[in-house]
């Protein structure tokens, strides 16, 4: 029982890193595939990507601090279920299936199961549905809002489940053609995280 309290703290940390990692991967894939006409087309293209590697830059604005802070790092997604996100100072996580390793200073410091914590499991399930192009599963957990203008497309993910709503209000992914410009995550308390992605490598190469 007592394990659970501190475990939930660790899981929470992991949950957020994972969320951002998955979103980043998602965006990188979208960027590679070009600007789709609708969310179905977006899903189909995402499902075709087997591996992608991006450089990311993250910026955090919070009510706790006066000035925004930022980190940089590298992220790799590999079908069907591997994600590894490491910042330049060696912090991050590696996810294989249900098992997640927490990395600090380039060392694995902890391992946990994604299914242990409901919000994390829901998050992983939904974002994996995104990668697999499983629109029905995605719609079960999130309200989707997809829109395009001449300059950009926008995909909003808003959680339906109560488990996720204390975590974040909305994830907004904005792209222009095949290029992702920003991903914004608006937390329930008003804090905002913004990721910018730059594609380094992608398989299969012919997707463009």
């Amino acid at each position: 029982m007592t394990t659970a309290g501190s475990r939930s703290v660790r899981t929470r940390q992991a949950a957020v890193s994972l969320l951002l990692g998955l979103c980043s991967a998602c965006i990188a894939i979208a960027a590679a595939a070009g600007q789709p006409a609708d969310v179905q087309a977006l899903m189909q293209r995402l499902g075709r990507v087997e591996r992608v590697e991006v450089a990311y830059q993250e910026r955090v604005e919070s009510g706790l601090i006066d000035t925004a802070i930022g980190t940089r790092g590298n992220l790799v997604y590999q079908t069907p279920d591997r994600i590894r996100r490491i910042s330049d100072d060696g912090n991050g996580f590696a996810l294989v299936g249900e098992r997640m390793q927490i990395i600090r200073g380039n060392q694995v410091v902890d391992a946990l199961l994604v299914s242990e914590i409901e919000p994390l499991a829901a998050l992983v399930g939904a974002l994996r549905a995104t990668f697999a192009g499983d629109l029905a599963a995605l719609r079960a957990d999130y309200r989707l809002d997809y829109g395009t203008t001449e300059q950009a497309w926008t995909l909003d993910l808003a959680p339906r489940a109560m488990a996720l709503s204390p975590l974040f209000q909305r994830v907004r992914i904005i792209g222009d053609g095949a290029t992702i410009e920003t991903i914004e995550m608006l937390e329930a308390n008003g804090d905002r995280r913004t990721l910018q992605m730059q594609l380094l490598a992608r398989e299969p190469t012919g997707l463009e």
Partner: protein, 778 residues
């Protein structure tokens, strides 16, 4: 004796039955049988014994049930069933704690008491010592890194009140030293075949009714779960065993006693050709049991279940008394029967003297046993002697027995010299067995049990799979008050950490890690800065950092509030997150307080450093297994001592009664040989001798005294001699049938009793027959 008229006989019988009924009523109201084996153990003589027994009897460990779910289905299905079962059980009031490795919803809530007291009880590094300017700066830098990485997102609710993550570190300190393997979010055996769960019941281990309810409730909830289809639930743990063994003992004892009763009655019916005599023959034994039990419950307040069972066993001698009465009262005149009664009462008196040696032990269970058996035997003998002859049918005559005449004519006779030879052979065999086998006493308490071996093995297996092997070594401290106990426990922490770092011990659980002594809490409280000082330190720490200090106002307020807190006590935590854990490690012991530090993975080399540090810091090191073994060894030593005294007393009583050295020798020789042979064979066949064997040997002694006295009794004529042979043979046959059935039992205790007595009767009967010298009078 004038022949009683039928009316007088009926009145006598009615009065006897009425008194028996009254005694049965009295016993029904006053008998509180307990079947908890540990309560049969000696009462503690030292403080260590007391701690030991309190742990064996009533500790939380004794209230813990181990569950495992298995079946031919994927691991996910097992995990789902485990979660569903735990969720349902958490809503049930009978269970204090349920742990299956899954996240308990209550755990995600912050425990208000722990949070409020975090600066007094939390790890100093993240709490009281982190309130300096450098400490605060380090903490703020760490929080900033967490904010950047996203790690702080879910923990942000605590940032304003707890920027040093004091509470988070307190929770980390609460992580038990060992946790089992986890799959799909719940505990699993390392091979992944079983989902595991630990349940602590509210009910005491000795409260069998409540334990049975808990066990049945668990099984019922499991059976009702849709998730449990195709899965099986297995239980282990002291409470489950107690319930199981109670049920098993009840059923098996019932079946075996019915079978044994039928066999015994059959033999008696064959021998005496009279249903009335068979039924009447049960009355002395019943009277003995009723009087013995009533006397014990009057003297001791209650009767232990095992006392009752063993007492009835010892009263087995009383089965022979009616047989002697029947054989001799019918067909012999008063002149001939007088010496028979004398022999019967002499046999009873010597056996009673032997049994009453038990009454003077320091062990409650044994003294109860001695009183019950002695009182019961006197009652049985007196009722057999004085009531049975008056109740026998007036015109009853013994049936002719050709086989008896043949047996008498052909029975081989050995000289006393051959007897001495047999004794020497027996003693040599015993010496050989002892020199090869070593200590003959069974001192492993787990085997002094009514639980079948397979169940004990299952229990050990589940414990090993849970990564929580039976904690048998611990440090403990007893002091007048909780504060002193906590101070001593605190003092031992640094040494334990060193031993753990040296890998001499695998882990330990010390309540002082998260509940420091009031003194330490007061010291920490005194170190807390006032709001003005803390604000200044915070500002300095945040000088080059971007935090908005106004968001940390709750932190300043909480530290200030902590300066007015009275130190936290175990009682304050009773209903919270860790109430059960605290009550496990810190508990009242009589008027004093007991603090326990269970140790796991203790290497052999760790024992002397542990003993040294215990000595230095005024605490005690205890190995439960060694401790109980010592306790049992003491028990055996005392019991054997009493047996020797009993033997001397019996010999003296016989000497007084027989007044002839030669006859004493004749009577004693078969008894001694029978005991030596039985003991030796027992050791050879069973490997060691436990409590049940030992008590059964006492019965064997009683029976052997009876056989030998009767067969060596000077007979008036051939018919008298034949009657004696008949009574001894029928008595031995019926006892053999009765205990032979017990020897078939799967319950270790019953099997031990049955086997020993069967073996003993064979030895005693055959030897008495071989060595008897019953010449005619004159």
């Amino acid at each position: 004796m004038p022949l009683p008229t039928p009316v007088r006989r009926w009145i006598l019988l009615a009065v006897w039955l009425f008194v028996l009924g009254l005694l049965a009523l009295w016993n029904g109201f006053n008998l509180r049988p307990s079947t908890d084996l540990s309560q049969f153990l000696p009462r503690g003589v030292s403080q260590q014994d007391e701690v030991l027994l309190s742990q064996v009897r009533g500790g939380v460990a004794a209230r813990t049930l181990l569950l495992r779910i298995g079946g031919e289905r994927p691991a996910e299905a097992l995990a789902d069933a485990s979660r569903a079962l735990a969720a349902r059980m958490r809503n049930d009031e009978g269970f204090a704690q349920i742990a299956n490795g899954g996240l308990d919803l209550a755990m995600r809530e912050t425990d208000p008491d722990l949070f409020r007291y975090r600066y007094l009880i939390g790890p100093p590094g993240a709490c009281v010592d982190a309130l300096t300017e450098p400490g605060l700066r380090a903490a703020l830098e760490e929080r900033l890194a967490e904010l950047a990485s996203g790690a702080a997102m879910l923990d942000k609710e605590h940032f304003g009140a707890d920027p040093t993550a004091c509470y988070r570190q307190l929770l980390r300190a609460l992580i038990p030293p060992h946790t089992p393997d986890r799959r799909h979010g719940v505990w699993f055996s390392p091979d992944g075949v079983h989902a595991l769960m630990v349940v602590v019941t509210h009910a005491q281990a000795s409260d069998l009714t409540a334990q049975r309810r808990a066990v049945e409730r668990i099984q019922h909830i499991f059976d009702q779960l849709p998730e449990s289809t195709g899965l099986t639930l297995e239980l282990a743990g002291p409470g489950y065993f107690a319930v199981g063994s109670e049920q098993r003992i009840k059923t098996e004892t019932l079946v075996l006693s019915i079978a044994a009763g039928i066999a015994t009655a059959g033999i008696l019916a064959l021998a005496f050709h009279s249903a009335a005599l068979v039924l009447l023959g049960m009355l002395p034994l019943l009277s003995g049991i009723m009087v013995g039990a009533a006397l014990v419950s009057w003297l001791f307040g209650s009767v232990h279940g095992i006392t009752l069972a063993l007492g009835v066993t010892l009263l087995g001698v009383a089965l022979d008394y009616p047989v002697h009465v029947y054989a001799h009262a019918a067909g012999a005149d008063a002149r001939q029967t007088k010496p028979v009664w004398r022999t019967l009462l002499l046999g009873m008196a010597t056996t009673v003297l032997g049994y009453s040696a038990l009454a003077w032990t320091s062990f409650d269970g044994l003294s109860q046993l001695g009183v019950l058996a002695a009182a019961g035997l006197i009652t049985a003998a007196l009722t057999s002697r004085y009531l049975l002859p008056a109740l026998m049918p007036v015109d009853y005559r013994l049936p002719e027995r050709r086989w008896l005449t043949r047996l008498q004519a052909r029975r081989p006779r050995c000289s006393s010299r051959a007897g001495l030879g047999l004794l020497l052979v027996g003693l040599a065999g015993l010496g050989l067995v002892l020199s090869i086998g070593g200590n003959p006493w069974e001192t492993d308490i787990r085997r002094l049990s009514t639980v079948p071996q397979a169940e004990i093995e299952k229990d050990s297996l589940i414990r090993a799979q849970l990564g929580a092997p039976d904690v048998s070594r611990l440090l403990y401290v007893v002091a007048d008050d909780e504060a002193t106990v906590l101070e001593r426990l605190e003092a031992v922490l640094p040494d334990l950490k060193v031993l753990q770092a040296q890998e001499l011990i695998g882990g330990f659980d010390n309540v002082a890690r998260w509940l420091p002594s009031p003194q330490t809490q007061a010291m920490r409280r005194a170190e807390l800065p006032d709001p003005a000082e803390l604000t200044v330190r915070l500002a300095a720490a945040n000088a080059e950092l971007p935090f908005r200090l106004e968001r940390l106002a709750p932190f300043v307020a909480d530290v200030d509030a902590s300066r007015g807190l009275e130190p936290l006590t175990a009682a304050d935590l009773a209903d919270g997150l860790i109430g059960t854990r605290v009550s496990m490690l810190l508990q009242p012991l009589g008027d004093a307080w007991l603090g326990l530090v269970p140790l796991s993975g203790v290497a052999d080399q760790a024992v002397s450093p542990l003993e040294a540090l215990a000595e230095r810091l005024g605490i005690r090191y205890l190995d439960l297994r060694e401790g109980t073994a010592d306790l049992l060894a003491g028990f055996f030593a005392e019991t054997v001592e009493k047996f020797l005294i009993a033997a001397v007393v019996i010999a003296l009583a016989l000497a007084l009664a027989l007044r002839s050295l030669a006859r004493i020798g004749l009577v004693l020789l078969p008894i001694v040989i029978a005991l030596v042979w039985t003991f030796t064979l027992l050791l050879l066949i069973q490997g060691s001798v436990n409590l049940f064997h030992l008590v059964s040997l006492l019965l064997v002694a009683g029976l052997a005294v009876d056989y030998s006295l009767f067969l060596n009794r000077p007979a008036a004529d051939e018919a008298d001699r034949l009657r004696t042979l008949l009574s001894v043979s029928v008595g031995a046959g019926s006892s053999l049938a009765m205990f032979g059935f017990l020897a078939l039992s799967a319950i270790p205790a019953l099997q031990a009793i049955g086997f020993t007595v069967t073996l003993g009767i064979l030895c005693a009967y055959v030897l008495s027959l071989l060595l008897a010298r019953a010449g005619p009078v004159g």
